[in-house]
């Protein structure tokens, strides 16, 4: 058989295979952009949604005809198909305005990753050995269905647990419907850098249980407490975009930016003024600023508007937060506190931001409340140049909120034996990697009789599963997303698959639907759709009657138009929904001391893990582009490092690249030292993301995982992990570690180079 006829045969065969394998999303795809319209060498741009982080940016995927080796029915073959070649931002999208970050750009390497799971797998070796055998989708779905017992008639819940990444889309809603029909508890959402503390604080302060959006483009003064809003936090592309406008978008005004943090982040590097406050004392500093503003009568109290309740009773001033007292606690000079307070008051509108480490202390919640109150005092709540909350799109199909447990309580339960968990479903959550050792996640999972995983990659968690039902990549799937923040409009993004699946995979929601129909009865009735595309089409019909970016006469036209646009967004006047009147917002004036694990005498250093610019929480560590993108501050590639202040290093006789041991009460790790002036002498910092044991060829066995030495400290209000509340000691091991730095020099023309 010559190559051409093989091509023909395999193309025909694989199209049919793809059709029955993927729940037929293709007929929508074909109608939308027929595959046969692809002209070799001519690119077609298809709208999409980025899922590389939770921000939900709109993208456009450049699709060109190419020949791909694909897997169909577990067999590889060559077909000519449309292939994603480049991802750009969707210029019409209200979150990212046509822009895209490094993670979004690297999205191609998720789809084309050589370590993707190509077909359903059933465990054949010991659990955790990574030995699997290929099975058919029919067998896989039957296997899964056989492990999904429905809730007993006695009212005992179904012993099924669903562990997933946070999902702000209809997949999340579908999972809830599925679990409810099973009689199982709600899905457990897991990501390491969870935002529970801030959401809770915002709920109590502003009535919105969500992350805030900032109108930076119209701000004249930003004071940020630890938030890496230009790098990894919240909606980075949106925030970068408006930051650029704040700096140089207006001819008459350039916004000023102050960052308060213990370790210089990429965001802090852009600040006009970088302020070091002791870890966990950010709330004091916020209230210290408030004290100065009130005592010097810099702000009229009524500027707070609806948020006035937050600062009730503040007219007498905040006697506990005089600059001198705050200086003692935070280490920020009183004169500087006064200057910052006057500066922020003078440059109206001003806005305060909090995120990252300040929220990850045991007093993170009171830090958040203090900053929220500072915003109220600055008059920035829901005012131009201030803080906003993105409204939800009018989609009733989404309202599925049930209070769910956390991974910690899940594992505690499993280890105790109650409630019983017989089947655990895991979707893109990796708590084995991203949790403190004291949670004993791995131990708990080992006790679960049956684990099924939907992820595309074998990671530390999915390697424990008995059945792997690999998902499509997001470029091969129907994707929808409702941004939590980053815009003042209600947005729901939508994308049809940009390309046919490369491998014999199936989207997670389609698998759930298949399983439900196989189980039949109530299960099938609870989720009557055949495919996830059907779920979405039904959900989007609800939007047609609302004024927005897409108008159409019929549901079908509307459906097509939304796909062409890449989503739907309200064209209403900007602004968040009216703030609810709050009865009694908690008083932010009582800030508790942060507690740290480990005595300062034995463990002298604050340990500050932070979201890596390259890998976020480790999710992107399997993308070679991200491994080889130098971290912009350390300039390190293909590894990890411990940031140490040069003074501390010289005291401990540590030099650049020396291998050091970082030990807490809960574990120790080894990593090379990086001397950097951007960290306090009594702290060490480490990026999260490396140190995978199982995550494909690019990520595995590279660097160290700082999360494995964290103490299980929690923030009491929310139960969230206080990941910045561990103290450590460091020891020089007397040999060099592997530190690959892109930069040849720390500084430009060090002064000693010129002798006069």
């Amino acid at each position: 058989m010559d190559r051409r006829s093989f091509l023909k045969i395999s193309a025909v065969g694989s199209t049919t295979a793809a059709l029955d394998a993927c729940g037929k999303p293709e007929h929508h795809l074909i109608r939308f952009i027929p595959e046969e319209d692809l002209i070799p060498g001519v690119a077609v741009w298809k709208p999409g949604v980025c899922t590389q982080c939770r921000a939900g940016c709109g993208i456009r995927v450049r699709v060109m005809q190419g020949e791909a080796e694909v897997t169909r029915k577990s067999k590889p073959g060559l077909i000519s198909m449309g292939l994603a070649k480049k991802i750009e931002g969707n210029p019409e999208h209200p979150v990212n305005h046509g822009k895209l970050c490094a993670w979004g750009q690297a999205g191609l390497q998720v789809t084309y990753n050589p370590d993707r799971i190509r077909f359903p797998l059933k465990r054949s070796g010991q659990r955790g050995s990574g030995e699997y055998q290929a099975i058919s989708w029919d067998d896989a779905i039957a296997e899964l269905a056989s492990h999904l017992p429905v809730a007993g008639s006695s009212g005992s819940p179904s012993p099924v647990a669903f562990l997933t990444q946070p999902l702000r889309d209809h997949r999340g809603a579908l999972i809830e419907k599925f679990l409810a029909a099973l009689g199982a508890p709600p899905a457990i959402h897991f990501e390491f850098f969870e935002q529970t503390v801030l959401r809770r604080a915002n709920e109590l302060s502003f009535g919105h249980r969500q992350l805030p959006s900032f109108d930076l483009a119209n701000t004249n003064y930003v004071i940020s407490f630890g938030a890496d809003f230009l790098g990894t936090w919240n909606s980075p592309v949106s925030q970068n975009h408006s930051y650029g406008e704040m700096r140089q978008g207006r001819t008459e005004q350039r916004g000023k930016f102050v960052q308060v943090e213990p370790h210089m982040s990429q965001t802090g590097a852009n600040a006009d003024e970088w302020v070091y406050a002791k870890p966990g004392t950010e709330g004091w500093l916020a209230l210290g600023l408030a004290h100065v503003m009130i005592s010097e009568r810099l702000r009229p109290a009524q500027a707070a508007g609806n948020a006035g309740a937050l600062i009730e009773g503040w007219s007498e001033g905040l006697p506990d937060y005089t600059p001198e007292k705050v200086e003692r606690i935070t280490g920020v000079e009183s004169g500087r506190i006064q200057r910052l307070a006057r500066g922020s008051a003078a440059h109206s509108p001003a806005v305060a931001v909090i995120g990252g480490a300040p929220l990850a202390h045991t007093n993170g919640f009171s830090n958040a409340l203090a900053v929220n109150a500072l915003n109220a005092l600055l008059g920035s709540v829901e005012k131009p140049g201030g803080i906003f909350f993105t409204p939800r799109p009018p989609m009733p199909s989404l309202s599925t909120s049930r209070n769910s447990a956390s991974v910690r309580t899940l594992c505690e339960g499993i280890l105790k034996g109650s409630p019983a968990v017989e089947t655990l479903l895991v979707f893109n959550a990796n708590p084995v990697f991203a949790s403190p050792p004291a949670w004993r996640v791995q131990e708990a999972l080992a006790k679960v009789p049956f684990i099924a995983s939907f992820g595309s990659f074998v990671d530390e968690t999915s390697v424990l599963s008995d059945l792997i039902l690999p998902d499509h990549s997001y470029l091969e799937s129907w994707v929808d997303n409702i941004p939590e923040s980053g815009t003042t409009e209600a947005v729901v993004s939508l994308a049809s698959p940009a390309m046919l699946p490369l491998h014999h995979t199936r989207p997670m929601p389609d698998v759930l639907l298949d399983v439900a129909h196989r189980l039949g009865g109530d299960m099938a009735r609870a989720v009557p759709w055949k495919t996830y595309a059907g779920v979405l089409q039904a959900a989007f019909e609800e939007l047609r009657s609302h004024p927005g970016s897409v108008t159409a006469k019929t549901d079908d036209d509307f459906w097509t138009a939304v796909q062409t646009k890449g989503g739907w967004w309200s064209n209403e006047a900007k602004g968040s929904p009216a703030m609810r009147e709050l009865n009694r917002p908690p008083s932010p004036t009582k800030i508790v001391e942060p507690a740290f694990d480990g005595a300062a005498s034995e463990y002298p250093f604050f340990f500050l893990p932070y979201a890596s610019q390259q890998f976020s929480d480790g999710t992107h560590a399997n993308l070679p582009w991200m491994q080889e993108m130098p971290d912009v501050i350390s300039t390190a590639m293909w590894g990890t490092w411990v940031e140490i202040n040069p003074q501390t290093a010289s005291r401990l006789r540590i030099q650049k690249g020396d291998l050091i041991e970082v030990a807490s009460q809960h574990g120790k790790l080894q990593a090379p030292a990086l001397l950097t002036p951007g960290i306090a002498p009594d702290a060490v910092a480490m990026p999260v993301g490396q140190g995978h044991e199982q995550y494909g060829r690019y990520a595995s066995h590279r660097g160290a995982n700082p999360l494995k030495i964290l103490a299980p400290q929690t923030e009491p209000e929310t139960g969230a992990l206080a990941w910045a509340a561990t103290r450590v000691k460091i020891t020089r091991l007397g040999k060099k570690g592997e530190l690959i730095l892109y930069a040849g020099s720390e500084r430009e023309w060090p002064s000693q180079f010129q002798h006069r």
Partner: protein
């Protein structure tokens, strides 16, 4: 019509996010060299974000500076190439003809900006990562110099379309991958010879400066100084 393509990079907007770096990898088929290659200083970045520390803790600051090929008007790399693999094209770009390059690496030495990278080995893409390759950009082999082209494939595409449709090229219609991706809109690309283009207006800003002006290479990348 004579054009002079140029770029303005506003350092007051740049936040060091490095979206440009990865966008360039994706658009221009830049190879990754892996841990060993990176350790030996052989990464293929056409675009980098330099950072310089200033001061000591706690009065410490960091300055970012994205650097790519400056597409010099009087390029030191061009005169030293013995085989004309690098030459000045009619639109003021320093073009690199991969097939003509024999790998003396002289241009790399002559470039004051160290903007040039060299294929020390044949690039490798673990299958199916090869499917990400942009068919508009040739893949380079061992022994060849390469560097930023201002995404010449995108420029040519728009130029050909404009010739066919007899429509002039609108300002901002051409965007190199880095410019298109830049979240903070720190980069602007366009025709410096057109006084009305955004890039030439920005180039006349009193914040405008050029990198290593003293070398006299007359770069066509203009930096707008950070204000603070």
């Amino acid at each position: 019509m004579k054009r002079q393509w140029g770029m303005v990079i506003d350092l007051d907007r740049c936040t060091g996010c490095e979206a440009c770096v990865v966008a360039c990898h994706a658009e221009n088929n830049l190879a990754t060299v892996g841990r060993d290659g990176a350790a030996r200083g052989r990464t293929m970045h056409w675009m980098r974000v330099e950072r310089y520390w200033e001061g000591e803790f706690p009065e410490v600051r960091l300055r970012f500076q994205p650097v790519l090929c400056q597409q010099c008007g009087d390029a030191p790399c061009e005169s030293v190439c013995p085989v004309y693999a690098t030459y000045h094209n009619p639109e003021g770009l320093n073009a690199q003809v991969y097939n003509r390059c024999i790998g003396t690496r002289y241009c790399g030495n002559a470039c004051p900006y160290n903007a040039r990278v060299f294929n020390f080995f044949n690039p490798v893409w673990d299958k199916p990562l090869d499917l990400q390759l942009n068919p508009d950009v040739s893949v380079r082999s061992v022994g060849i110099m390469e560097k930023c082209t201002f995404c010449i494939q995108r420029i040519k595409q728009v130029e050909i379309r404009s010739q066919e449709s007899k429509q002039p090229i609108a300002d901002g219609e051409i965007q190199p991958a880095c410019v298109q991706s830049c979240p903070a809109n720190a980069m602007v690309f366009g025709d410096l010879d057109d006084p009305k283009s955004k890039v030439s207006q920005l180039a006349r800003s009193n914040r405008a400066t050029r990198l290593l002006r003293e070398v006299g290479a007359q770069p066509n990348v203009i930096y707008l100084r950070s204000v603070s």
